[in-house]
């Protein structure tokens, strides 16, 4: 039988041992100090960090905290730092690491909750409000009438940018964000680009300037491309930030 979390396979093979080291800290409890804890476990075929962590939690340490929701790379909950790189844990296979040693840290720049768990929700909501992440239209739509036509290519282009899952990896990989707390990051700038190309949105460049025309917005970006190079959805962040920058300097 299939067991997704325990991945018990029917044949009796010998599997290698892997060592997973986890940053442990509970800010809620003043008696605890930050520390690293190492767990040794058997690596089953196709093991991802999701499977490994669930195994650690259910069989070795019931008190370890981390966040998974969809476990399919769709929801963006499980971002963490894996051997230095911010990634989605559910999409990271343990077999990738040849020496079998994996160190997991919570995502920096977000409020730490416990162990590998951080608060991304409140930050992302605030960001969405800051860049007014919604369609601005002057007229109300009659929802019984045939919808406004959109060029198929344009719809596809908007969709490309709408694929962002607010996982926070672009921020954890960004030198500006790490230094300047209020920087909206690639996630925010990509969002404005998404609405800027959406034909439903009637905002002018000047309107966008009011949202991102400062050092917490597009001018804070130093083009270090940490976002572009770590984005798990392969969003074209490099070109879209440049696109917004070109628009904004024309103001």
């Amino acid at each position: 039988m299939i067991d997704q979390e325990n991945q018990e396979v029917s044949n009796e093979e010998e599997f290698r041992k892997i060592e997973i080291t986890v940053f442990r800290y509970n800010p809620q409890n003043s008696n605890t100090k930050p520390e690293y804890q190492t767990y040794t476990l058997e690596e089953t075929p196709g093991m991802t960090l999701y499977i490994a962590l669930i195994k650690i939690w259910s069989t070795m340490d019931h008190n370890i905290s981390f966040d998974f929701v969809c476990r399919a790379g769709i929801c963006g909950s499980c971002s963490m730092v894996v051997n230095g790189k911010p990634r989605l844990a559910c999409k990271t296979r343990t077999s990738e690491f040849e020496d079998g040693k994996i160190t997991l840290l919570p995502l920096p720049t977000f409020k730490h909750i416990k162990d590998l768990s951080v608060d991304t929700g409140n930050w992302m909501n605030a960001m969405s409000k800051k860049v007014e992440s919604w369609i601005h239209a002057k007229e109300e739509t009659d929802i019984t009438a045939i919808e406004k036509p959109v060029e198929p290519d344009v719809a596809q282009a908007v969709f490309e940018l709408d694929r962002c899952i607010e996982c926070g990896i672009c921020l954890a990989a960004c030198s500006t964000k790490i230094m300047k707390e209020d920087f909206v990051g690639a996630v925010g700038l990509n969002r404005t680009a998404r609405f800027a190309i959406d034909p439903h949105d009637e905002r002018s460049d000047e309107d966008f300037y009011e949202l991102i025309g400062d050092d917490n917005g597009v001018f804070g970006c130093m083009s270090l491309m940490g976002c572009e190079d770590h984005c798990p959805k392969d969003l074209p962040l490099q070109t879209k930030i440049a696109y917004m920058r070109r628009k904004m300097v024309k103001m």
Binding site: Q28, N29, C75, S77, N122, T144
Partner: protein, 661 residues
């Protein structure tokens, strides 16, 4: 004692909850949404394939309208649905999708002229009309007469959820995430709000509102293999059950999706088959046409899942360390199509299985097996979305048994239901909140808070040495093996007994960490207890229902029995000390149906024990139609089944070529 007051309280921040929150804000009500996770992480985001709405823009959807969508939905439900609700739904769905378009959901759009598609494994060219250029496109899905499923590649739920969540933020809906509702506060049969636990600090907070809505989704995680996100534990449904007053409906109606990938159980959208993908067995043979000559891979999900298991039982499955499976082949669609319209499917298959489905031939086939996917059952509500037995408690989306889906939901009708229910139920809910006053007194609030506080302390004081994780695993295995795609009396009765034992066993666990603040083991302890109660509702309901209807299939009662079982299973938990739910049944009235029970058009033929009332109603319908003479379809429809809907949503929908007709 921490109390938060608001006008409208919504538990669950997925599509249904957030769309409802927009409805209450539009009426100027203070609205709080509490959610276990950041709302944009809700399981709605994982819906891939699309949303059904009868726009009829695409050439393959031509002639589509509410009536066709209604008929598909009723057949899909195996006549288990509430036809009144189905009517409300199909009338509102086109409005929902147009509203979402205006909110920026980048629906795939039609390009005029010829394009190549795969139909029934063959390449065909279809020509889209000039006037359809730029309108919302649709793809084919199982159990539908027309191409009706609108989509944004295979990330439809994601784009919908983001649009709705952003609109909620725009309207200043207050979002409190990392909060979990663990009990419903009620007094004199009226709901006053919930007791919620802050999942970080552990603090118990009473959220008190004029009206409360549960929109917490399904309970798929009671199964070992499920496509559901790991938060889909049904806690929202369970706390309603625990009131002892609220009824759950059709809990045994559990959908198994034909094509989750093996072994991770991550879903591969029905869009794979809708776009022309086929199922193959160990010999590479496409077997579905043998079983379902007409709909083939695109029969309804319950039928395809059963046929797959049937085929595996004939020894045609592919052996693997994880058990037998079948193949899903989408390589025939071509790389370009896959990379554009099935991007996430490709990503999932590459990441989790190392298979690129765009690779031609066997190399690109993905291993699939039916697994739990959707909960048709849930909190039984009236067409307004209000609980049948508790005032002021509303429910929408997958958590509800509104009853749009009966015993089987059609693919593409889930996210569609979520937003449509968010609109309709949201509207009724908002009106209710507007008209009522807060009545719950603080003494009651305190009592409910104290009960929960004591309950959590009690869990921490258990000292039997058993492990909650073992109990959970056992429950999930029982559900998987004994309450699965094929069910029988003996297994079901074993399942019920063993689940009852497990529920009693919860008092024998030991929680290692005694902290009340963030403590994932404590969370698991109370959640698993609630899950066990739901598992019991599912198994007991399945055991008692001695017929096969939709997704509920009994090997010992293989026929659909309209004479005895055209009803809804109603489950309650009358006493907190009970270890077994109480079952009763709610008749479904054939004489009020617009479409009396008949053969679905797919699945096994001759497997129906008809109810004589069906024929009588059929004759009645013919007579009504004759009397009416030549009238438009709306007049006929109203004469057969008159349904209520908020005025704004009852308006007719415009369509290309036919206007508002």
């Amino acid at each position: 004692m921490k109390i938060v007051y608001t006008d409208a309280l919504i538990v669950g921040g997925g599509l249904a909850g957030l769309r409802s929150a927009i409805a209450t804000r539009e009426k100027g009500l203070d609205t709080i949404v509490i959610s276990m996770v950041p709302v944009k992480r809700s399981h709605s985001a994982a819906a891939q394939g699309g949303m059904q709405a009868s726009l009829g823009n695409a050439v393959m959807g031509e002639g589509d309208n509410e009536d066709v969508h209604f008929a598909d939905t009723v057949k899909g439900s195996d006549w288990g649905c509430d036809q009144n609700v189905a009517r409300m739904f199909v009338t509102t769905a086109p409005k929902a999708i147009r509203e979402l378009a205006a909110w920026g959901v980048p629906w795939n759009r039609i390009g005029k002229g010829p394009r190549e598609v795969i139909i029934n494994g063959e390449k065909e060219t279809i020509v889209e009309k000039d006037e359809a250029h730029g309108l919302i496109n649709a793809r084919d899905f199982g159990g539908t007469k027309k191409w009706r499923t609108c989509y944004t590649s295979d990330a439809t739920g994601h784009t919908m959820l983001y649009a709705v969540a952003n609109e909620a933020l725009r309207r200043n809906v207050e979002i409190h995430d990392k909060k979990e509702a663990i009990s419903i506060i009620h007094e004199n049969g009226i709901c006053g709000g919930v007791v919620a636990r802050d999942l970080i600090s552990g603090e118990l907070i009473a959220y008190i509102a004029k009206g409360t809505m549960i929109a917490t989704g399904g309970y798929g995680r009671i199964y070992k293999q499920s496509t559901n996100a790991i938060i889909c534990k049904g806690v929202g449904v369970a706390i309603a059950l625990e009131t002892g007053i609220v009824q759950l409906g059709n809990m045994e109606a559990v959908q198994f999706h034909p094509t989750p990938i093996v072994p991770s159980g991550i879903l591969l959208t029905e869009g794979c088959r809708g776009d022309g993908g086929v199922l193959r067995d160990k010999d590479g043979y496409r077997f579905m046409p043998d079983y379902e000559p007409e709909k083939k891979e695109l029969a309804s999900r319950d039928v395809v899942s059963r046929r797959m298991i049937e085929h595996i039982r004939k020894g045609k499955g592919v052996k693997s360390p994880y058990g037998d499976h079948l193949w899903l082949d989408i390589s025939i669609l071509g790389r370009e199509h896959i990379e554009k319209n099935l991007h996430d499917v490709q990503d999932i298959s590459k990441t989790f299985n190392g298979i690129d489905p765009a690779d031609e031939g066997e190399k690109g086939w993905m291993p699939v097996l039916p697994m739990q996917h959707y909960s048709m059952g849930g909190i039984r509500v009236k067409p307004t979305g209000e609980s049948t037995t508790m005032k002021g408690l509303f429910c929408s989306g997958e958590a509800a048994c509104w009853d749009l889906h009966g015993f089987n939901r059609l693919g593409g009708n889930s996210v569609s239901e979520a937003v449509v229910a968010g609109m309709i139920v949201g509207e009724y809910f908002a009106s209710y909140c507007k008209e009522t006053h807060l009545t719950t007194n603080t003494f009651t609030i305190q009592k409910f808070l104290e009960v929960q506080k004591a309950y959590l302390q009690e869990i921490l004081s258990y000292d039997g040495g058993k492990n909650i994780f073992d109990i959970k695993d056992r429950m999930r295995i029982i559900m998987q093996e004994k309450v699965g795609v094929f069910r029988n009396g003996k297994d079901l009765s074993d399942a019920v007994d063993e689940l009852e034992d497990l529920l009693k066993m919860v008092k024998e666990i030991t929680v290692t960490d005694k902290a009340l603040c963030i403590n994932p083991e404590l969370n698991e302890a109370y959640r698993v207890t609630k899950m066990l109660k739901l598992a019991l509702c599912v198994s007991k309901g399945a055991l008692e229902r001695t017929e096969s209807r939709g997704a509920h299939f009994r090997e010992d009662y293989t026929k659909r029995d309209d004479e005895n079982w055209l009803n809804r299973t109603i489950t309650t938990w009358t006493d907190p000390n009970d270890t077994m739910p109480t079952l009763s049944y709610e008749e479904i009235d054939i004489s009020k149906m617009e479409m009396p029970p008949a053969f679905r058009g797919y699945g096994k033929k001759g497997a129906i024990m008809s109810n004589p009332l069906s024929e009588i109603r059929e004759e009645e319908i013919t007579k009504i139609k004759e009397t009416l003479g030549k009238v438009d379809r709306f007049t006929t429809q109203e004469a057969l089944l008159d349904f209520d809907l908020p005025k704004e949503y009852k308006r007719k929908n415009e369509r290309m070529g036919v206007g508002y007709d």
